[in-house]
Symmetry: C2
Subunit: 316 residues, 2 copies
């Protein structure tokens, strides 16, 4: 049995894919989005988004995600739940495997995003976005004149801890073993240590995040084998990023050293007719504004590709 051929499949239905779908469907380009977890992506599970342009007082992540979904559906986007496990070429078409079944399309946009690596400790999930954070640019400004715990000992943990000093009165930096960061960053954080603004705890595991009346109030740790508790207003975790690109293992799509998808300025991947945008793209800023901007740009690139595709098809 022949399945219908879609114009565009987006893998993922976060802000970048939803924006692309607003653009494609508004131009009557048939578009289906496959999402395996939350429509709206990380935005949907963010408490408050303060820096998405257009909302002067900020907007709840869930509301923003709902708005994006409604807008895409208003123009005719089909959003479906489904787990994409493979993408391959079939002649000039692309075949995407969704929940074990194959779906064919002329073009594909990969916008599966990235997840922040978690500590996996009690309290972490419960207070996500409300005391437990993974993005200093997004949520640091909520901690003016407050104290923070930062977890991690790599380049990004040190960089973000240094960044967060502009807001906080004090930071406890919890490092599982020893610091593995560049000399420049180690030298720079030392200045804050000397000023008494940062305290570094080496050989320290983060064991539990504790709340008082629903607000994060302390973190239980084990430092050099000894249990302890640190009073804090919030905790930022920087232990790595997990791009959602595992399903591309058998594809010819080129990834960078951390598993993000390489694209050119037109957001084309190394596989013809396949595009990538948002947090899954190499060089991504992990910002909704950028994900949305790239979604629009990807849609315009895809439209150009489809115009050429249809011209060739008509001529054949």
């Amino acid at each position: 049995m022949d399945t219908p051929i879609r114009d565009v499949i987006t893998i993922g239905a976060g802000p970048s894919a939803l924006t692309a779908a607003i653009y494609t469907t508004r131009e009557d380009i048939d578009t289906v989005l496959y999402e395996k977890s939350a429509i709206g992506g990380l935005a949907a599970i963010t408490d408050m988004v303060d820096n998405y342009p257009g909302f002067p007082d900020g907007i709840e992540g869930m509301t923003l995600a709902g708005n994006l979904e409604k807008q895409a559906e208003r123009f005719g986007a089909h959003i479906e739940y489904g787990d994409v496990t493979a993408i391959k070429a079939d002649g000039k078409y692309k075949v995407v495997t969704v929940d074990g079944a194959d779906v064919k399309a002329k073009a594909v946009l990969i916008a599966t995003g990235s997840d922040y690596k978690k500590l996996g400790v009690p309290g972490e999930k419960e207070f996500y976005g409300r005391g437990v954070h993974y993005c200093a640019t997004c949520d640091g400004a909520f901690y003016r004149d407050k104290t923070l715990v930062v977890v991690g000992g790599g380049n990004s943990a040190l960089q973000e801890a240094i960044f967060l000093t502009r807001y906080t009165t004090h930071i406890d930096l919890l490092v599982r073993s020893t610091i593995k960061a560049s000399d420049v960053l180690q030298h720079e954080i030392q200045k804050y240590v000397d000023e008494g603004k940062v305290t570094i705890h080496l050989n320290t595991t983060t064991d539990e995040i504790i709340d008082t009346n629903g607000r994060v109030s302390s973190v239980k740790i084990t430092e050099n084998g000894q249990p302890a508790e640190i009073i804090t207003d919030g905790i930022f975790v920087f232990v790595g990023l997990m791009p959602n690109t595992g399903f591309l293992a058998d594809s010819p799509i080129e990834l960078d050293e951390v598993g993000l998808i390489r694209t050119d300025l037109k957001l084309r991947t190394s596989m013809e007719g396949v595009y990538a945008s948002g947090d899954v793209r190499s060089g991504a800023t992990m910002q909704i504004a950028s994900a949305v901007g790239e979604g629009a740009a990807a849609a315009l690139s895809i439209r150009e590709y489809l115009d050429e595709f249809n011209r060739t098809e008509a001529a054949a």
Copy 2:
């Protein structure tokens, strides 16, 4: 007398610059925006914005512009009216000439946008965004099952006319002299001419845009020397783009063949410490979503630059 040195100057205060300012000022980076015409840029003078992600039913351009301005000011952005006429380097600082006076900064973002070339005929200004349009991707979808006049005979005019056929019942294409577009496009538009969906008027000037009760209803033309009138629901003008980069004539900043600013993936121009984003950037999509996305990305690049700048300064 020494003037204070700003962290960041943005030239322009459209969506891209305002977004960059939301990001920089939220991180306590001192930022001043100089705007010579409308705060909010082209968005501010657009009647209805249908495809800016986050507003399911669209948003008035003026309201969106106002929101962006409020959001940037909420975090401490300084928005000032002023005409920037030059940018030059002074050691490691940049000097920007505003209304004849010099202002110094560590980094500069050029986000002056581009303007659509106008016909300069009666009715054009009055019905801007409400019957007279310059962007098919933005406003084409408002003309489903309606008739249109399209003005222009170059590649972009033909491309956009072909694009608009997906919405409209009929298009009159007004070409001042003869068509100057690629063979592929000429071949393709001929198909629509054969179907009776497009009528091409060569040697035709567009003389006046006429309304009935405040809605565009016809266009007065002169075709082969004979005056005539075409009944229509709207008019799209594609006679060229004017990047607002005239003030860069004496700067070392590299432009492309149409005068847009070349940047790399990090939105750096060819002048160190000077960035460009939005509609003034080579490769720009002329979409608010992309301008905003690039504004955020530029701010993050600038922050990185300032971190390094301040480190070097402290070490000196």
